[in-house]
C-alpha cells in the first residue's frame, strides 16, 4: 500500500482529534462537578487518540520497512466502494422526495450494477430490483406495520419544506 493510502486514515483521525479538542475547550460547566469537569475527559481522549494513532503509524511504517514488497492499492475496488457510498448518499437524499418505490428500485438497480461490475442483463437486474423493493416493503410495511414514504413528496419537490420528523 503506498504512503498516501497508508497515512490517509491516521491523518484524518489526527485532524478530527484537533477539531474535537478545540470544541472541547468551548465547553462551559454550569456548576462544579468535581476535579474532572465536563471538558476534561474529552480533552484527555483527544490527546489519547493522537498518541495512539502516532504509535500505530510508527509501528506500521516499521512493518512496511521490513516487508519485501509493498501491497499495491486496488484502486478499482476502492472506486467501487466509493461508488456504493455515492449511490447510498443519493438514495438517502431522494428517499422522501422520490418516495420509497421509485428511490428503492433505482437504488437496487444501481447496486446490482456496481456489484456485477456492469456485466449484467439490465432487464433481469430491473426485475431483481423490483422484487427486492417489493419484498422489503412487504417486510417493513406489511409484516411490521411500519410507515414508509411510499410516493414522491410533492410538497418537498415544490419547496414547501420538510415534514416534521417523528421521533420515538
Amino acid at each position: 500500500m503506498n504512503l498516501l493510502a497508508r497515512l490517509f486514515v491516521p491523518i484524518s483521525l489526527i485532524v478530527f482529534a484537533v477539531i474535537y479538542y478545540i470544541q472541547a475547550g468551548e465547553i462551559r460547566s454550569l456548576y462544579d462537578t468535581g476535579p474532572i469537569g465536563a471538558a476534561d475527559f474529552p480533552k484527555l481522549l483527544a490527546v489519547g487518540l493522537v498518541v495512539a494513532v502516532i504509535t500505530a503509524v510508527g509501528l506500521d511504517l516499521r512493518k512496511a520497512g521490513r516487508a519485501e514488497r509493498a501491497e499495491p492499492v486496488d484502486w478499482g475496488g476502492v472506486g467501487a466502494a466509493l461508488l456504493v457510498v455515492a449511490v447510498c448518499a443519493v438514495y438517502v437524499a431522494l428517499f422522501r422526495v422520490a418516495g420509497y418505490f421509485i428511490a428503492t428500485t433505482a437504488f437496487g438497480l444501481a447496486l446490482l450494477a456496481i456489484f456485477s461490475r456492469l456485466k449484467l442483463n439490465w432487464l433481469v437486474a430491473l426485475v431483481e430490483a423490483v422484487v427486492l423493493m417489493a419484498v422489503i416493503y412487504g417486510l417493513f410495511a406489511g409484516l411490521f406495520d411500519v410507515r414508509l414514504p411510499a410516493y414522491p413528496a410533492l410538497d418537498l419537490l415544490f419547496g414547501a419544506g420538510p415534514a416534521p420528523e417523528v421521533s420515538r
Binding site: 486514515v9 454550569l30 476535579p35 471538558a39 447510498c88 428517499f95 456489484f115 420515538r168
Partner: protein, 502 residues
C-alpha cells in the same frame, strides 16, 4: 418466587407458537449469515435492530439468542466443506474439518462439529442460568471506584486481545468514546461537542453506529471483491459428496474424544465468553490449544483431528452463554454480538444490571431457553434436514445478496426513528468503519468504546468527586484494586509471546 422458578416459568413463553416461530426463524437466519463467508451473526442482529422497535422484547431477545447460537455453529459448515470459515470462530474447525473432507469424511466431520456445538451450547446455557444469581450478588458489592476499574479492565482486555494491532485497537476504542461524548454531559445538562448543531444535542444513537459499522462497511468491502466461480463449483461438488446418514458421528469416535473433553472445552468457552470482548475465536483457539496439549493423539492435530473439531466447536458455542453474563449484569458486552444485543435491550427500555433478575426474570427465561433449545434441538435437526443445502449457500450470487442487505440496512435505519438524519448518520458511520477496516483498525473496539465510554467517564468523575480529587482511592478501594490487578494479569497473559499450535 425464587429466581429459578421465575425464570423457568417465564421460559414457558418460549413454547407459544409465535415466540417459538421467532426462535426457529432466528436460527435459520443465523445459520445463513454464519455460513456465508463475509456475513456474520453480528450483522444479522444489527439488521434485526430496527425490527425490534416493532417486536415485543421476548421475541426480539429469543431471536437474538438463536441467531447468536446458530451463527456460531454455522461457520463450521463452509469451514469443513470448502475450507472457508464462515465465522472467525471456525478457523480451527477449518484446519481439521477440511482435512477430513479431503479424506471423504466431510459428513462425519460436520456431524462431530454439530455434536460438539450442541453439547457446548447447552452447557453454556445451563451455566448462564445458574451463574446469574451469583454474579448479581457479586455485582452488588462493586462500588463506584470498582465500577470504573471494571470498565477499564473490559476496555483494556478488548484492546490488548487484538494481538498485533494494539495501538490501532486503542485508537479505535478512544474514537468510539469520543463519539459517545457527543450530546449531553454525563453529569450535568449541558451540550458537549455538538459542533454548533441542535440535532447532535440528542447524542449519537447506537443503532446507526451498529448498522453503519457492520452492514454498510461490509457492503463497501464486498463491493471491492468479485464472485469466485471456483468456490461455487467446489460447494456444489461438496454438497453432492455428502450423505445424510454419515452426519451421525460414530459412537467409537465420540468415546475416543471423551466426555471430559466436551465438558472441559465447554467450561473453557464459557469462561472466555465471560471476559469482555473475547469472542468465539479466542474461545475456540484456547480450547483447541488445550485439547492438543493433553491429547494422547496430538500428532493428529492439523491432519484431521475429530478431537480438535470437538474442542473448538464446544468452546465457541458455550461462549455464547458466557458472553451474556457481563452484558446482562454490568452492561459490558462479552463479545461483538452481545454488544449489539445490548442495543436491543436498550431499545426496549431494559437496563442491564442485577435488578434484571428481580424485575425482568420473565424475559431471561425465554432467552436462556432459546440458547438451550437452539443448541440441543435445532443444531442437529438442521444439519440432518438441511445440511447439503447449507453448503450451497456460498454459491448464492453476491450482487442481489448484498443489495438486499444494503436495502434492509438503510430502510431499517429510517424506520427506527423516521429520521433522515439517522439514515445519513448510518451512511457516515459506514464510511468511517470502512476506512478504519481498510487501514487495519478493528471496528469492534470502536463499538465497545462507544458503549462503555460514558460509564467510564461517569464513574471516574463520581469517584474523584467522592475522594475530593485523591486518585489513590482506586488503589485503596478493594473492589477497584482487584480489577486493576486483574487488568495487569490479563495484559501480562495476553502480551507474552506464545507458541502457535500448528
Amino acid at each position: 418466587m425464587s429466581y429459578l422458578a421465575e425464570v423457568i416459568s417465564g421460559g414457558a413463553a418460549l413454547f407459544t407458537p409465535a415466540v417459538f416461530g421467532f426462535m426457529v426463524l432466528g436460527f435459520l437466519i443465523g445459520t445463513f449469515f454464519g455460513a456465508v463467508p463475509g456475513l456474520t451473526a453480528v450483522l444479522a442482529i444489527a439488521l434485526l435492530l430496527p425490527f425490534t422497535y416493532s417486536l415485543d422484547p421476548v421475541s426480539a431477545l429469543v431471536m437474538c439468542a438463536s441467531i447468536f447460537m446458530s451463527g456460531m455453529y454455522a461457520g463450521s459448515i463452509t469451514a469443513t466443506t470448502v475450507n472457508i470459515p464462515g465465522a472467525p470462530s471456525s478457523v480451527m474447525t477449518a484446519i481439521e474439518g477440511y482435512r477430513l473432507m479431503q479424506k471423504g469424511e466431510g459428513a462425519n466431520a460436520l456431524g462431530h462439529a454439530a455434536l460438539a456445538s450442541m453439547i457446548g451450547g447447552a452447557v453454556g446455557a445451563v451455566l448462564l442460568l445458574v451463574s446469574m444469581p451469583i454474579t448479581a450478588e457479586l455485582a452488588l458489592y462493586i462500588k463506584t471506584p470498582g465500577k470504573f476499574s471494571l470498565i477499564l479492565f473490559a476496555l483494556v482486555v478488548i484492546v490488548v486481545a487484538q494481538r498485533g494491532e494494539v495501538a490501532k485497537a486503542a485508537a479505535a476504542a478512544i474514537l468510539g468514546m469520543m463519539i459517545a461524548t457527543i450530546g449531553v454531559d454525563v453529569m450535568q445538562p449541558i451540550p458537549r461537542l455538538v459542533f454548533g448543531t441542535e440535532t447532535l444535542v440528542e447524542g449519537i444513537n447506537l443503532m446507526p453506529l451498529i448498522i453503519g459499522t457492520f452492514a454498510i462497511s461490509e457492503i463497501m468491502i464486498q463491493a471491492q471483491t468479485r464472485d469466485d466461480p471456483a468456490l461455487a463449483s467446489a460447494a456444489g461438488a461438496a454438497a453432492r459428496a455428502l450423505k445424510r446418514r454419515d452426519f451421525i458421528p460414530r459412537w467409537s469416535e465420540v468415546r475416543e474424544i471423551g466426555f471430559f473433553t466436551y465438558l472441559k472445552s465447554s467450561l473453557i468457552g464459557y469462561g472466555v465468553g465471560v471476559l469482555p470482548g473475547a469472542g468465539g475465536s479466542m474461545a475456540a483457539f484456547v480450547s483447541y490449544a488445550e485439547a492438543m496439549r493433553v491429547s494422547k493423539k496430538s500428532g493428529e492435530f492439523g491432519k484431521g483431528s475429530r478431537e480438535g473439531i470437538a474442542a473448538a466447536e464446544a468452546a465457541n458455542n458455550s461462549m455464547c452463554g458466557g458472553a451474556f453474563v457481563p452484558m446482562l449484569m454490568f452492561g459490558i458486552p462479552g463479545d461483538p454480538t452481545t454488544a449489539v444485543v445490548l442495543g436491543v435491550l436498550v431499545i426496549n427500555g431494559l437496563q442491564p444490571g442485577p435488578q434484571l433478575l428481580t424485575t425482568q426474570a420473565d424475559l431471561l427465561g425465554p432467552m436462556i431457553g432459546s440458547l438451550f433449545f437452539s443448541a440441543l434441538l435445532l443444531i442437529p435437526l438442521s444439519l440432518f434436514l438441511f445440511g447439503p443445502f447449507f453448503i450451497r449457500i456460498v454459491s448464492i450470487s453476491r450482487p442481489p445478496l448484498y443489495t438486499a442487505i444494503a436495502l434492509v440496512a438503510l430502510v431499517g435505519a429510517y424506520v427506527a426513528t423516521y429520521s433522515m438524519f439517522q439514515m445519513a448518520l448510518t451512511l457516515v458511520f459506514g464510511v468511517l468503519a470502512f476506512a478504519l477496516r481498510r487501514a487495519g483498525y478493528p471496528t469492534v473496539t470502536l463499538l465497545l468504546g462507544f458503549i462503555l465510554g460514558p460509564s467510564l467517564e461517569e464513574y471516574l468523575r463520581r469517584t474523584l468527586t467522592l475522594s475530593k480529587g485523591d486518585p489513590t482511592i482506586f488503589l485503596t478501594s478493594p473492589d477497584s484494586l482487584a480489577f486493576l490487578l486483574l487488568t495487569a494479569l490479563f495484559v501480562f497473559m495476553l502480551t507474552r509471546p506464545r507458541r502457535a499450535p500448528i
